[in-house]
């Protein structure tokens, strides 16, 4: 039982690298140096970059799903739920230094293994479904104004949040994220 599980350390390092540099921007050599093992040793844990990226996207989706469930358990109103999810995207942006893994991978779609593409699809469906529910809650409890079609609101908000991360990334400036979501925030009361 090692102090820090190497496999987890590799996933952590890979997630960070992938979200900063994109799929084609990080390499096994980078991870090896970061984690402190030799490049070839990575193949013991993840035989190929394709397998690694599948595991990466799967873990990312599961973690995000857990976060969504925790938000549901912790916040009553749709507005509060949505605001908390937006905060997650803001934290995920990391001052304009990273993107959501889903967004980062989507940009280099042609380099991805089919199973990664599928994981991305599952991720998006999950988040949009969760957001749809949050918008429904917000419409019913009055905590989000002007909601008439929750599913469309969710699709729109998903794109807005990923686009806002992209905007912040473009100039490595977190204010651009905030600016992009400001109007949405005015619709959320509590």
């Amino acid at each position: 039982m090692p102090t820090t599980d190497t496999k987890t350390a590799l996933l952590n390092s890979a997630e960070n690298a992938a979200r900063r540099l994109g799929f084609d921007g990080f390499s096994y050599a980078d991870l090896a140096e970061d984690v402190g093992i030799r490049k070839a040793s990575i193949h013991h844990h993840f035989p190929s970059k394709a397998k690694l990226s599948v595991a990466l996207m799967q873990r990312y989706r599961e973690n995000f799903q857990t976060v969504c469930a925790e938000i549901d358990a912790s916040f009553e109103t749709g507005g509060a739920q949505l605001a908390e999810l937006i905060k997650q995207y803001e934290i995920g942006s990391d001052e304009g230094k990273r993107l959501c893994l889903c967004a980062s991978f989507s940009a280099s779609r042609d380099s991805l293994a089919p199973e990664v593409v599928h994981q991305i699809s599952l991720f998006r469906t999950m988040v949009i479904g969760w957001m749809t529910n949050a918008f429904e809650n917000g419409r019913d409890d009055g905590s989000i104004s002007g909601v008439s079609q929750p599913a469309l609101e969710a699709a729109s908000t998903m794109s807005l949040l990923e686009g806002a991360q992209l905007a912040a990334r473009a100039e490595e400036n977190p204010a651009l994220f905030d600016n992009a979501i400001k109007l949405l925030m005015t619709r959320i009361s509590a």
Copy 2:
């Protein structure tokens, strides 16, 4: 005077490749094969990938600026102007097979030359400025509903459009672009 200017052919090929595959996803070898010259010959036109990408982003920005000016000249109302710009982003998405060059490059920001980053900044400022004006027009002529802060609308819409392209790219499905912008479209009357 050659039939097709090689330099232009290289830029065209590079733009397409960059928008499909990202900055780290395309190579001089790809361009060479596409254009029909040898890899080394590209360096005659663009001594480095950094120089090429600067020229690419600069041309992209100038072309986009021209399109914006043409929209201004052809459409009266703010709503019609905005709708036309949205159409440009939809066409630019190419059925979920490409992204805006600005978005694609932003995702792999750390691989970019400083001058490219600057060009991206100029591009974003230009588009958001144009959109702000369109929203002001739409507010004044009544062709866009619910506009109170045009500058924030512009920042939000820019992120929404790039995010919508990312959504379509994620599943290579143009319907996801349409779905993401549907609510915005309902605010535009003419």
